[in-house]
């Protein structure tokens, strides 16, 4: 029997059973759509993290305390951080570290590494009669160059601000936009923070350019580290030293990254009496970790969506088993006019595969559209979702849907092919 004829038979079967075919297909459409959309979300997150880490600037090494103070443990935990400004100072010795071009300490701040364990010092910020939420970054003047930020209006904090422990502040673009109409109009204005017991009035001296992405670059407010340390004494460690949450080191040459990493590790370990209570990672290390996390996320999302695909397949099997019983007489007629069991088997398998292929194609469309629609939305959570549809996910989803059609179609088709023509014709 010619393949084309079977296809034609199947399509006319579907044409006369539109509702049932549509509902059967719906299971596959939802399954494939979910696989595509959720994998796009996973891939998007991965791409977002990658571009964010790359966007930090090149040739960077990040030094962090082994425990960064968990948000669950509260602010008291910040006292027990193991990294201090002394460590940063020792890295600034050009004779020991000729390959290091800049060192900047920070407390709080935008989450650089997709490492969500770092405490975000989130605060309410009031200005111009409005209020918004911002993340406090307490740092040093060269933060802006090391981290590759652009100042959109005004200026960044200076070493003079550090020395005077001034109450000058630089706002991220979103914070500025929330409180003031334009970046320029924010300059010179006063803002007020309510951070625990600390109630501080600050003067806006600069606004950063928008960086975008799904991080918190645009929602931060940057203070001089010294000001922060004075006003918020709890960040001092028990031995009176000034704690920091992160030291960013810029290396002159990418080729010297690993060498610098080793030297930094040795120096800080020596400072800490040989204890390695901190981590030193390069951008590549961060990328590797972040990618592992987002790959796990993608697989997890794909697996959840895959379950709905299997449920769709079971739906096909269910409908087909009913349909075989309903079409018993038809099968008997076909056998009487010359069909053998293989031809009947093929007819029913092809019907199942057509449903899944058509459902898969529509599902791909639905998934891609859903991914596009979701791209850039925050769904009220404050962090925008980035989606990225890859050809791999489309291929995998459509391939799996065909396999599901075959797998769940074979048993009903086998039942159909085994029907005894005499029995089948006797049925009314």
């Amino acid at each position: 029997m010619i393949f084309i004829d079977t296809l034609r038979m199947a399509t006319s079967e579907f044409a006369s059973n539109k509702l049932r075919t549509g509902l059967t297909m719906l299971g596959i459409i939802i399954g494939v759509g979910a696989v595509i959309a959720l994998m796009a979300a996973g891939q998007g997150a991965q791409a977002g993290v990658t571009s964010k880490v790359r966007g930090l600037g090149s040739n960077l090494i990040f030094v962090k305390p082994a425990t960064t103070g968990s948000s669950g443990g509260g602010i008291r935990d910040l006292r027990s951080l193991t990294l201090t400004t002394d460590d940063a100072t020792s890295l600034r010795d050009q004779t020991v570290f000729p390959e290091i071009s800049a060192v900047v300490s920070q407390f709080g701040g935008s989450d650089t590494s997709a490492d969500t364990s770092q405490t975000s010092l989130q605060t309410q910020l009031i200005g111009n009669g409005r209020n918004t939420t911002a993340i406090i970054t307490a740092t040093e003047p060269n933060f802006v160059t090391v981290r590759n930020y652009t100042v959109a209006a005004g200026a960044f904090i200076t070493s003079d601000d550090m020395d005077r422990k001034s109450t000058n502040v630089v706002l991220g673009s979103k914070v500025a936009a929330d409180l003031f109409d334009t970046p320029a109009s924010a300059i010179g204005q006063n803002v007020r923070i309510n951070f625990g017991p600390v109630n501080l009035s600050l003067t806006v001296i600069g606004v950063l350019a928008t960086r975008g992405g799904n991080g918190s670059d645009d929602t931060q407010m940057i203070l001089p580290l010294t000001t922060f340390a004075t006003r918020l004494p709890f960040i001092r460690s028990t031995n009176g030293k000034q704690n920091v949450q992160e030291i960013t080191v810029k290396v002159t040459d990418a080729g010297k990254l690993n060498q610098a990493k080793l030297a930094i590790t040795n120096t800080i370990a020596a400072n800490h009496g040989g204890t390695q209570d901190f981590t030193v990672s390069t951008q590549d290390d961060l990328l590797t970790t972040a990618n592992e996390v987002s790959r796990t996320l993608t697989i997890l999302l794909g697996a959840i969506a895959g379950i709905s695909l299997i449920v769709g397949g079971i739906g096909i099997m269910n409908i087909m088993l009913v349909s075989v019983i309903e079409r018993t007489r038809e099968i008997g007629i076909r056998k009487a006019v010359g069909a053998n069991s293989r031809m009947i088997l093929m007819q029913f398998i092809i019907e199942a595969v057509i449903v899944t292929v058509a459902g898969g194609a529509i599902g791909v469309l639905v998934g891609v559209v859903a991914a596009k629609v979701a791209n850039g939305q925050d769904f009220g959570t404050g962090s925008t979702i980035t989606t990225q549809v890859t050809s791999t996910s489309i291929l995998v989803a459509s391939g799996v849907s065909v396999l599901i059609g075959l797998f769940f179609g074979i048993y009903p088709a086998y039942q159909a092919s085994r029907l005894d023509p005499i029995e089948a014709l006797r049925k009314d």
Binding site: M1, E330, A336, G338, I422
Partner: protein, 251 residues
């Protein structure tokens, strides 16, 4: 000899009870014959038809169709014989419910792998007088017209044998005459062997040989009483009344 049955038995089993449907049947039917198989219900007529039609296999004994032992064939081989050599006509027409008459008639050719199907199907429908109903669905046709579609479907693959199981059982008297006349013509003009199962004596009268079954055994096998003895196609027997009437109005 086209059909040769020797000591053929068919025994059905239901639970622990064995029900013999056919017992020790010996039968020869030659090419070009027009045979009626008659008998009360439960006499084994349909079982015999199913075995001759390769839909069923005998429990014991030999069935040879055109020299091939059907009992030794597998499902695929028997399907091939049905497809190439046998046409079926049923009491309840057994048309698919949705396709047009033309598609119904094309169906056996799909399974037989034949080409030129549209033209052949149209030709077969013309043969049974349904040229003007080719695109009608079964629901738009009268009983007699549906049976004509079924006959065209049986005819279209050029079978050597047409098996008709009570083909007029669901039709009124006039239509019965038309359908029987159609079978007579196919037998006479195309030399197709036709075997009828019927319980209507007036239908059996149109055949040339009547085989009577009772309790699974052949109790008589005689030339049909009223028929003019015509052994070969070409020497024309008197046509049945209205046999050539081409198509009746839908019921």
């Amino acid at each position: 000899m086209m059909i040769r049955l020797r000591h053929l038995s068919k025994i059905y089993r239901s639970g622990d009870v064995f029900v013999p449907a056919l017992q020790n049947v010996d039968l020869d039917i030659d090419y070009g014959e027009f045979v009626a198989i008659v008998g009360a219900s439960g006499s084994g007529k349909s079982t015999l038809m199913n075995i001759i039609g390769c839909l069923d296999r005998p429990t014991r004994g030999v069935y040879e169709l055109e020299g091939h032992d059907v009992g030794r064939m597998n499902d695929i081989q028997r399907a091939k014989v049905r497809s190439r050599r046998i046409g079926f006509v049923f009491q309840s027409f057994n048309l698919l419910s949705r396709p047009s008459a033309l598609s119904q008639v094309e169906l056996p050719m799909i399974y037989a792998g034949m080409g030129d199907r549209r033209r052949r199907a149209a030709h077969a429908l013309a043969e049974v007088g349904l040229s003007d109903r080719m695109h009608h669905k079964p629901s738009q046709l009268s009983g007699g017209q549906q049976q004509r579609v079924a006959i065209a479907r049986a005819l279209v693959t050029d079978p050597a044998l047409i098996l008709a199981d009570e083909p007029t059982g669901a039709l009124d008297t006039k239509t019965t005459g038309d359908i029987v006349g159609l079978f007579e013509r196919l037998n006479r003009e195309h030399g197709i062997t036709v075997i009828f199962v019927t319980h209507e004596p007036e239908v059996a009268e149109h055949t040339r040989r009547t085989i009577t079954l009772r309790d699974g055994r052949i109790i008589s096998d005689v030339p049909t009483a009223r028929s003019t003895v015509v052994q070969f196609p070409g020497t024309v027997a008197p046509a049945a009344p209205a046999a050539q009437a081409a198509g009746e109005a839908p019921a």
